[in-house]
Each structure stands twice: as C-alpha cells, then as structure tokens.
C-alpha cells in the first residue's frame, strides 16, 4: 500500500471523542478544585505553586503528543497510509498548542518566582526551539500542495525535530538550569501529588479526544483533496444548485 487507499472518517470516532472529552472535563474539574482549594500552599512559592497542577500535566502531555507525532511520522514513512498522515497532522497541531501553553504557563509562574517573565535558560530555550520547529512543520504542511510530498516531507521533518524532545527533558540535568529538576512522588507531598495526577489524566483524555476529532477533520480534508474532481456540469454552485 503506497498512499493508494482513500482515507475515510471513522463512524465511531465522534462518540469515542465525546466520551473522552466528558471524562476529561470531570477529571479537570475535580483536579483543579483540589489543586486550587484543597492542596496546601508550598512553603517557599506559596499560592503561586498551584500553577504546577496545570503546568506539569501540560508539559507531560505536550511531550507525549509530540512523541505520538513522531510515531505517526514513522508509520507514514513505512506504511504509506493516509490515516497515519491524518494522525500526524492531529498530533503535531495538538503538540504545538500544548507546547505554547506550556511556555505561557511557565512564564506566568516565572514572574513572581524568578522576577522575570522569560530567561534564556537551557530548559526554556530548548522548549522555545521545540515550539518553533514544530510550528515550522505545520507551516510546511500548509505550503506543500502535493499530498504525497506533504506527507513524506512533514514526516521526515517531524523525525528530525523530535530530537529536541529528549534534549528538553534532560536539559535540566545536563546544564546548570534555573528551572528545577524533575520531581518524583517521593519528593512531593501526597496532598500535592493527587491533584497533579488527576489533572494529568484530565489533560491526557482531553488531548486524546481532540486528537481524534482533529484526525477525522484531516481525513475528511484528505478525502476531498484526493477524490477525482467532478465534471464542470455537475459541480455545485455556491447557491446549492448545479451549473
């Protein structure tokens, strides 16, 4: 199979996405309530530390989304199946949105704790590089008109850009960073771990639901793009009639 089967939307996808989105809404409501009103303030950062309950789940899921994009890119190259191209587009877009949110949340946290909105620290710099690299891939997909070239080139670019993901993760260990190193459940109080975990699953389900919808959108667009054109006599006019 070499990009020869037209992608079709899955009839079950909207129901699965709706279930995931409903579960995520419930989890995020509970997790955020506990994080904002039940969990104790941190000794040094005080109330500002509550940003962690959205910042860390966003970070984990952004990296996960980009990992799914990387896996989809591998499948695009080896399977040459449009469904994987649709999934690649979905995970790229969601990964970029979560990465930008991650930077914005981090910036909001940095101001009261570090005294600045942004610092060219290794973790922040590598994350910014990550954001712009993947935005570039989304832009590439917009510019390339040939669907096969678009799928192949963006898959290759995704694999190359993904190299930055482990660099982001290990940047706090490899270099002297202002950003703190990773915490573990052993180093964080259980009252703080609970909302963190609930919100992590909430963002995970939200991301999965959105990815399913975005992938369906990409499949429909691809199907319309790849379908043979209608002859002039059958083409629809803007009013809904036929020329």
């Amino acid at each position: 199979m070499a990009f020869d089967v037209l992608p079709q939307p899955s009839p079950r996808a909207p129901r699965v996405a709706a279930a995931l989105l409903a579960a995520s809404a419930a989890l995020l409501a509970v997790g955020s309530y506990i994080g904002l009103f039940v969990a104790p303030p941190e000794h040094y950062m005080g109330e500002v530390q509550r940003i962690m309950y959205v910042h860390v789940p966003t970070a984990w899921n952004a990296m996960l989304a980009l990992t799914f994009a990387f896996v989809s890119a591998l499948f695009v190259l080896f399977k040459q199946d449009w469904r994987w191209d649709a999934r690649l587009e979905a995970w790229l877009e969601i990964g970029v949105i979560l990465s930008f949110l991650l930077c914005a949340q981090g910036s909001i946290w940095a101001k009261p704790t570090w005294g600045v909105w942004w610092d060219w620290d290794p973790r922040l710099t590598t994350t910014a590089v990550l954001c712009f690299a993947f935005v570039g891939i989304l832009a590439l997909r917009r510019f390339v008109e040939d669907p096969v070239k678009r799928a192949t080139w963006s898959a290759v670019a995704t694999i190359v850009a993904y190299v930055d993901v482990p660099i982001v993760y290990f940047s706090v260990k490899w270099w002297n960073s202002l950003h703190q190193t990773q915490s573990t459940p052993q180093t964080v109080a259980s009252s703080m771990v609970t909302p963190l975990r609930i919100n992590a699953f909430g963002v995970l389900f939200l991301m999965a639901g959105l990815a399913i919808l975005r992938s369906q959108l990409a499949r429909r667009k691809l199907a319309a793009e790849l379908a043979p054109p209608l002859p002039e006599s059958n083409r629809l006019e803007p009013t809904g009639g036929v020329a």
Binding site: L36, I51, A224, L236, G240
Partner: protein
C-alpha cells in the same frame, strides 16, 4: 517577595488556569466548527456525485435524498 518566600500571587494562578482552559476550549470549539462546516460541504459534494452517477437532472441535486431518488428512477423506468 519577602525573605525568599512568595506572598500572594493568586492573580498569577488565575491567569495560568484561565489561559489554559480558554485556549483549550477555544481550540475544541474551532475543531467542532471546522468539522461541521466540512461535513456540510461533503454532503453537498456527495449529493452532486450521486446525481451525476444516477444521471438525474440538476434540479434534484442536494435536495432529494437517495431513497426518494431511487423511487423516482423506478417510476420513470416503469413509464
């Protein structure tokens, strides 16, 4: 900040949570709208394709559902 301890800062907390949920909600809404718009367009396209395949005139395109079109065809054949 006093003595290395951050005091207050709820406005930063609300800003981070607000930004997160507004951004993700807006993205979800935009996806729903884009899916709906594309669904309507593909229904119209499908109608045009079915009309072409059935050989039915332009007036029926997109307005007569498939079962009705099948009935009309069989009635025309009987005549």
């Amino acid at each position: 900040m006093t003595g290395g301890i951050v005091v207050g800062g709820w406005e930063f907390v609300w800003a981070a949570y607000g930004l997160t949920f507004v951004a993700l909600g807006a993205y979800g809404a935009s996806l729903a709208l884009r899916l709906r718009a594309l669904g309507e367009h593909s229904r119209e396209e499908r109608g045009a394709r079915e009309a072409r395949d059935d050989g039915i005139g332009p007036a029926s395109v997109g307005s007569i559902p498939s079962p009705a079109r099948a009935e009309r065809r069989s009635a025309e054949e009987e005549q």
